[in-house]
Symmetry: D2
Subunit: 323 residues, 4 copies
């Protein structure tokens, strides 16, 4: 019962009671708000694992499509909060999260004390902390659990979740998240899940652009495919070069082998780099390569690469000059 160590100064007694009641009745309905490209397959995986799902989406079409799957659709986030004491949200950005949690018909209007609120949107860590404070005022527990893996992993239930929040709640969150992901990592206090995702995606962008530059330079040297082989056995090795190589013909089953379709779009990477830039500016952290990577992806968005996988930066840099 180590998980009964609770640090919340307020609502302590009620909290302890409700944690117990929450964890002992695990197949009770789970709320799911945000049924888009990612939320829809994620919620379906919850259903697959036997959890009744109480859902809501601001777009009627998204709701209708999901209703056929056997979930119960509500009229507002507040209505979802009335019926489920564990809720997962999967929203495009901060303003959506603010509206869904703290808006007129938001979750916090009717949330039950001791509820567990897991936000898997990718938003500013500072915003996650604000939402956590607001939730705590209403006696609920908020955790940030942004994902990594994309639509394919969402469907296959192979997402990686980076979780931030009160450590005691991690087990309860993990129970739900393992229905949707194969990797659920505790990162620290609330906001650190977002932070971890931002740091990872900034490094990913840097290594991807770096790989594209190194491969392109190698090709111009006449090295062709040999350069990938050499990089992958040397100190330049990285996921971008050995698992997701941006050069067509180097490996199968990655976007570069499929005209950069699918995968993780340039627009999404640009958004994440914008979050990294905000956070770095806020914390006075110098990120010269991260900043430049953000600018490069920003420029690519306006040059026809917005919907292509982010590894299309190789194509962006590769276009030959007409001499």
């Amino acid at each position: 019962m180590a998980s009964l160590l609770v640090r919340y100064p307020s609502a302590l007694r009620a909290h302890v009671t409700l944690v117990c009641s929450r964890t002992m009745a695990s197949k009770t309905p789970v709320g799911f708000i945000g049924l888009g490209n990612m939320g829809n397959p994620m919620a379906k995986n919850l259903l697959k694992h036997g959890y009744p799902v109480i859902a809501y989406d601001v777009f009627p079409n998204a709701c209708k499509e999901f209703q056929d799957s056997g979930a119960q659709l509500m009229e507002s986030p507040a209505d979802v909060a009335e019926r489920a004491d564990r809720i997962i949200t999967m929203l495009p950005s901060s303003p959506n999260a603010v509206e869904v949690y703290t808006g007129q018909s938001g979750i916090l209007k009717k949330v039950k004390k001791g509820s567990l609120l897991i936000d898997s949107s990718t938003i500013d860590p500072a915003m996650s902390k604000e939402l956590a404070k607001a939730a705590e005022k209403m006696g609920a527990v908020f955790m940030d659990a942004p994902v990594s893996g994309g639509v394919g992993a969402a469907r296959a239930g192979n997402l990686t979740f980076m979780v931030g929040g009160v450590e005691q709640e991690f087990a309860a969150a993990k129970e739900l998240l393992t229905c949707m992901g194969s990797n659920v990592v505790y990162c620290g206090e609330v906001g650190t899940g977002q932070a971890a995702k931002i740091c990872n995606n900034m490094l990913l962008a840097i290594t991807m652009i770096g790989t594209a530059e190194a491969m392109n330079l190698g090709i111009r040297f006449g090295l062709t495919q040999a350069v990938a082989k050499i990089l992958n056995m040397s100190s330049g090795r990285c996921w971008s070069s050995d698992t997701y190589n941006p050069v067509p013909g180097v490996m199968e089953g990655v976007p570069s082998a499929n005209n950069y379709q699918g995968g993780f779009g340039t627009t999404l990477m640009t958004k994440d780099l914008g979050l990294a830039q905000y956070s770095a500016t806020d914390t006075k952290t110098p990120i010269p390569l991260g900043s430049l990577s953000h600018q490069i992806y920003r420029i690519m968005c306006a040059k026809g690469y917005a919907q292509k996988d982010f590894s299309s930066v190789f194509q962006f840099l590769r276009e030959e000059e007409n001499l």
Copy 2:
């Protein structure tokens, strides 16, 4: 006898004969020119493997120090070339290579037809191709085989060699290089060994700075060591984060655990990035992150980081502001 396929239009017959004579008498003396921090331990490994070594260095001290090891010291590169038909050179930069090969008392003044010349210096690929042409005119074979791994790997015989040149000669080169390294890779025509090293080191610099930025941002978020763990299980993973992490306390046995002593110095990385920049400009290849990495390491050279391991970029970015 597949290795007897020879493509040299000129000096064909003499070449074939001498290749045969070279490969059949493998413990004949090997020349070694350049007995500095890297050359000294490399040549010693040749001696360890039973090869008589005929050596030369422009600095008398370096020669003296090596003489005690049992090698025979000569008065000039030309003198070495008279006595050995396989020669390895390990020099600091292009001007040195030009002097040693084509200078008044250079190798090519007395080189025997069919000699195998292996240059393990890191120089401009275009320069390697010039030297190869000059060697071919004298009936000798030139290969570039720059190394990766640093002084530690040189001593332990664990270097990686990236080899460029006529493919038929690779076996002969490999015979010698495996005495000094654990990884000997054929890259393509002459110049591609240098090219491969340049590409690898440019990507290494980019991933190292990127890792330093991501780790620093994570720490400022309050993530501390968790961020390294998360990066290494996610798409941000790279050699710089999982094998040579720049943050003190994250792993043992790397320069960050030893106040950035040893390893691969900032000045050397800056030099390699300068070579990448030259090559990229020559071939009109855009390398935005590579260029910026070069500028960052260039600035660090003037800020007290010149002799520190290149992972000290973390320290450079990390210094806290006095508010």
Copy 3:
């Protein structure tokens, strides 16, 4: 009476009346909130021009120092708003502005209808628009009028004000601002004053770093002072090279001639570049050189340059390597 053209849909009648009463009694007291390095000399210039000043600062020392000048000190921004229907604020950052305008004892708690509120702080344009909306709800007019010129220009009454807000109010604002500045420019709707300052300062940072790089490169070429002369008669000419050259010995009366003391500090420039970065990210505008300039000044803050004039970037780049 062209200025009587009013476009406010709400509070129209009251507004017209109060505009008249405001403009006809121009030597009525003017409120001044924020008596720091800039605010103190600015408010003194208002006094010099015969305006009674009702002042407030959160720091008692700042208040005391100003009291001797003949102003009347209040206990809160709200108290100032009770007694003056024209108020100027000069605050360090957005959170301060939010507190002073909308806090418990903020201006808007007691502001009189039709008051003119001029904010000369440098804050995010989006925040200025928010404050303007809040002011409008209380029937007051808010204009942003950030300054350029620094402490020296503040003392000499030579500041440049970039003003955003309702055009009809510009004349009233100008009447006050010309006591403190020699250049008062109308930029457009509210927020555009901040926008103009941000754009200018971003370009200033870029040209200053560029000038430092070009001068440094010229000096390393052996050009010494000739390069400044040539730049200033050629297409590279800019304010940073012809009026505020960062190289010691090139011109008198600028910080580079005085060990980079005084002037416009690196920390302040970094703050402005952070605002430019936020705005660019918000509006999806690519600013590659602006971003990199922000990163360079950010790094300088942690290297002992925080309090030096921003032209000290020349010194930062110039430090020679020990070879």
Copy 4:
């Protein structure tokens, strides 16, 4: 006769004599090698000023076209050097200069002692110094005098020349150069003319991209043309914003007002930035913004901007995203 102060240790007597004979017969034929876009109008301006011109170009068409102007065409640079003791060269790049000066039928094969050789090509300063040494060995004087101003200024005789070389020869060089330019500046020893041009053009590129970024950000803020007005009266002012603004509609008579036709092409600016990058790497000078500007123009070359004026960077950054 102050110009008789000669510092050449070798060929002193002969040199003095020939300087006298050179300067006293100023309307003697002038050699001109390189009759391309720039060389053709430059040579025509010499003719206009009454100088007989002895010319050569590697392309027969260029020669034919020039013959009609009244010049005498030769078969090689060496032939030109036989007949003229003052020669101006205007070539595209270093390899051309090396060939024309030191090739088999190059100038130095037949140059007369004491000849004045003025190279107005834009090449690496180190190369200029090499050519000067080679010329000195043959008893001739070499000066670098690269130009600024473009084809329009070449036709109008309004070029700026940045001259490097022995100061005593400056007057003689100036006599010829003032036929083609309105600004002839002495920069220092040989190579400094190139150096000055490189520094100027690097700063020009930085200020042009910076201006494009600031104007674009201002426009996205809703500032439209006001931002140009404000920049030009503030500390962000530079030639790129007040004389050559990159935004269509801001000023007349510049490439942005003519769909970026004419002017100074992106490809040419990229070449100059490549020279700046080489020089900076050689001298270990950090040029972060200069490097990034080089990369930006390099990328633009491959995106359809190669032939457009370099101010088209505004258009490159401005393209709106499809949301």
